[in-house]
Symmetry: C3
Subunit: 206 residues, 3 copies
């Protein structure tokens, strides 16, 4: 049972990595980057959130560097976009939103759980969970020379923060680890999808 | 006596954190960010200089993450700006300049002292003191997609570097720690205020 | 013999540091930065690639901080540009390209070798070698608020990656360290110079 969960998690983690790399690489294509630039922004979008989290909790080399598999998946995602850019154009935008929300939720809750394991305080758990989910996209946007979308746009990082908070509260209430992750996942994924569906936005200063 | 100094320092440190967060958050409001974006740039402005310093000297998790208090203060500063943006508009600009110079001086000298305690060489002490003072603002400006003000503008990072240098020289001359901090503080704060008063600028290439 | 190699390496390393600092500082002059800004972008261009590599492999404080010499060389390079900007304008552009390719190759192969010594897997060795070579320039471009040239332009990071790959393969084949470095250096330098000469570019999405 435990092994099955670990296996499921590993598959989901690699799938989310591939998806984030594909999304990042597509942004690179639109920005007119060359093949290497596309691979780099795909890599950053997929892996840099977790790398920053690991640097901040002192877990170095970062987890993403300890085996080549996630890096290879991220680079393969970028290469796929480069080779078959037009194929991706035909995918419905809704599919991207759906899978992206799932990837965001997965990264946010596992980032939060790792911060808890490293005995971070509650505020830091929420921050590091959120950073794991959105940090890669922020760095991608900085490299593409624009204000990170998560700082100005719709409810995205907020969903990641809610998911991380869910994991934190559930863990404090001694809910078992997998269940705590599931709760956080549902909160993040749910809020994100509801926000997209109804066009919810965070308030701006009037 | 020692305890009184530590208490005074802690109060000053939290006050400077709040002030930097408020200034950063105001830049976020002007850039049209949403609530979360405003909190993030406030957080970055207040805390990222010290976090980068700690990563570079290998003191992880960074000091800012070890207790929630400074993070909470930084986020509260950002929330205050969001809630009462118009109130801050009525503050005289001179007050901001004054308090900002004090916050800069405090961060620069305490950053330098921490680098000294970690046995950094003199050049690194000055760099890390300066980074503690201005690093958060640099990251804020990068996130807001503009050239960091400290690289092109008036005498700001230079004042931080002078303050850090003051701490370094005083410490090498075996001046007691608190006095060394006071000397560095006076140098940084003094240079910054004089530069603002007289419109001093660093030279540009003709 | 061993000592002569170490001495040669140290001289080359400091020469490459100075050159990268000069190139970075010149970009700062063109961007209208003040003296401090010019020093900062020179410093970043020369040293930040190696600093990021060291943070990622957990070698802190980073090597660049352990003695003041490379920092002083980087700052001196920036000061030289500030003081004698017009002199550098008279240098033929070809000389810069040539020396820059040598500096890139040196940083990439020594970065790769350090990653190997820290038991990074092969994919990470290539990534960290490339990062050592191009990371400083990426941060410089982010500070100057533009898309990093290496992501969109000609064959530059690709040459660094090839050089790092050369070191990796040679080391796996049990080629002695200095020879492995020489092979990687020749590959990186050679590819870069050929690409410049013939105007080679990486493909873009049509």
């Amino acid at each position: 049972m435990r092994r099955a969960v670990a296996r499921l998690y590993s598959v989901a983690d690699h799938a989310a990595t591939a998806l984030f790399a594909i999304e990042g690489a597509r942004a690179g294509v639109l920005a007119g980057l060359d093949l290497l630039g596309i691979l780099v922004v795909g890599f950053c979008t997929a892996l840099v959130g977790g790398i920053l989290r690991d640097l901040l909790i002192g877990d170095v080399p970062p987890a993403a560097f300890r085996s080549p598999s996630r890096i290879v998946v991220a680079l393969a995602g970028g290469a796929l976009v480069f080779a078959g850019s037009r194929v991706f154009d035909t995918f419905p935008a809704e599919a991207f939103v759906l899978f992206d929300a799932a990837g965001l939720a997965l990264f946010a809750v596992t980032g939060a759980q790792k911060a808890i394991e490293h005995r971070s305080n509650g505020v830091v758990v929420v921050i590091l969970g959120t950073l794991t989910g959105v940090g890669g996209g922020v760095v991608r946007d900085v490299l593409l020379n624009r204000v990170p979308a998560v700082l100005a746009g719709d409810i995205y990082a907020t969903a990641a923060a809610l998911g991380a908070l869910g994991v934190l509260v559930a863990t404090r209430l001694r809910v078992p680890g997998v269940v705590a992750l599931a709760i956080g996942f549902a909160l993040c994924f749910g809020l994100r999808m509801i926000a997209v569906t109804f066009g919810w936005q965070l308030p701006h200063v009037a």
